[in-house]
Symmetry: C2
Subunit: 243 residues, 2 copies
Amino acid sequence: MTEIVKKDLLYKGKAKEMFTTNDPDTMWVHYMDQVTAFNGKKKVQMEGKGQTNCEISALIFKDLANHGIKNHFIKQIDSNNQLVKRVKIIPLETVVRNFASGSFEKKFAVKHLMKFDKPVQEFFYKSDELDDPFINDFQAEALNVATEGQMNKMRAIALKVNDRLKEIFSEMNIDLVDFKVEFGIDSDNELILADEISPDSCRLIDRDTKKSLDKDVFRKGLGALVPVYKELLGRLEKVEDVK
Amino acid sequence: MTEIVKKDLLYKGKAKEMFTTNDPDTMWVHYMDQVTAFNGKKKVQMEGKGQTNCEISALIFKDLANHGIKNHFIKQIDSNNQLVKRVKIIPLETVVRNFASGSFEKKFAVKHLMKFDKPVQEFFYKSDELDDPFINDFQAEALNVATEGQMNKMRAIALKVNDRLKEIFSEMNIDLVDFKVEFGIDSDNELILADEISPDSCRLIDRDTKKSLDKDVFRKGLGALVPVYKELLGRLEKVEDVK
Ligand SMILES: Nc1ncnc2c1ncn2[C@@H]1O[C@H](COP(=O)(O)OP(=O)(O)O)[C@@H](O)[C@H]1O
Ligand SMILES: Nc1ncnc2c1ncn2[C@@H]1O[C@H](COP(=O)(O)OP(=O)(O)O)[C@@H](O)[C@H]1O
Ligand SMILES: [Mg+2]
Ligand SMILES: [Mg+2]
């Protein structure tokens, strides 16, 4: 395999810069030292944030692959850069909830962290202009955002991710409240897990202190974010079978 | 059958008063001369409005029963009162859309009246306090609002209603843009169509003039509402096989 060389900036999102490489199927992802919330309305630069997310996401994606969940991760380049398979992202955020929080709690006025008997699954349409609206299968099909088959597949994979993440976080003494993932179509036309899994995209609660170990610390202004992310990475690195 | 006698006001909604009767399985529905929009924020009294809606709903429910769609309608008492089977309402508004309008158009910023290849189906959680939020199956199950089996059944019946309504309105030179229905569980534990089907709960466009023949006239302040509803009732009464 020839060495992969970073080329042009293809897309700069709110957390990552995506670069093309000399291989059309490989992307170079740079995790930025930036955190945003409320669709970019709140935005702060934070040293060390890119690195922790890059490393957490790498560890989790490697573990998921080891547990039979195909994903875009190829390898870590350095502390805040990684290589991934280039995919065509399906513009849906696939959400799984184990406990009520965030938009669910607000919309339905239920008790914070009410436990669900079975995971609640939702899709949000990734559209900054439309403010990422909550969407159902009929709407997504009507808008040509995804097919019914793709949505069923994304839901099924997301449930497997949920099962494995709950195991990992449980070993870290953490409850997985909810998380979002993204999927894309790779060059073999296969639908695989992509983007990132990190404290930016999960809600995590320490079982003893009941404190958030995720982006809610930033959303709610609960204190410094990077130390929390570093604490999380430290615990993750200690999990026996995650490496 | 002993004569049905109106008893106590059980529930006063935004359009109808529901009375108990001497028969525990029968409700007396009074259609009020009142129209509301935006969850009751806009409200006006209008003579003749209750009557037209009561008569339109009666004609449609009778026709749907004739076409195999079980529903709560028993009989018309007078111009703005009818008897219906008492049900336990499932607090979901079941929406079917043939063309983009209303909240769909707004949320997804699509062209007004964009035609859908297949009907788009949605549920909204009937809750004045929560402002009738859009809800998916997982959420409705988690909140004990409805079971998956009930939602599948409601969707299936709503599609049949759509097919028949499109036929009826087509004979009236009208496009059925969208509509909402409600379902309930009757004393035999059967899930049946309930509430009303009227220009309050449908969006209807005249194929020639492209004018609204429904509550949008009121929502958008396009002129007097009752003459429009009367025009609609007049056309409905002329449809050959609706009686
Ligand atoms: N494997 C991949 N191939 C192509 N695009 C990807 C891949 N993984 C993630 N992306 C996309 O990269 C973009 C940058 O990520 P991010 O900064 O998180 O963006 P956003 O602001 O949309 O959240 C996102 O649009 C994401 O969907
Ligand atoms: N057959 C029925 N049995 C019991 N309740 C019914 C039946 N049909 C409709 N309802 C309920 O009657 C109430 C009054 O109707 P309406 O004035 O339209 O109320 P709303 O303000 O909730 O729209 C609604 O809550 C509706 O769900
Ligand atoms: Mg992102
Ligand atoms: Mg009503």
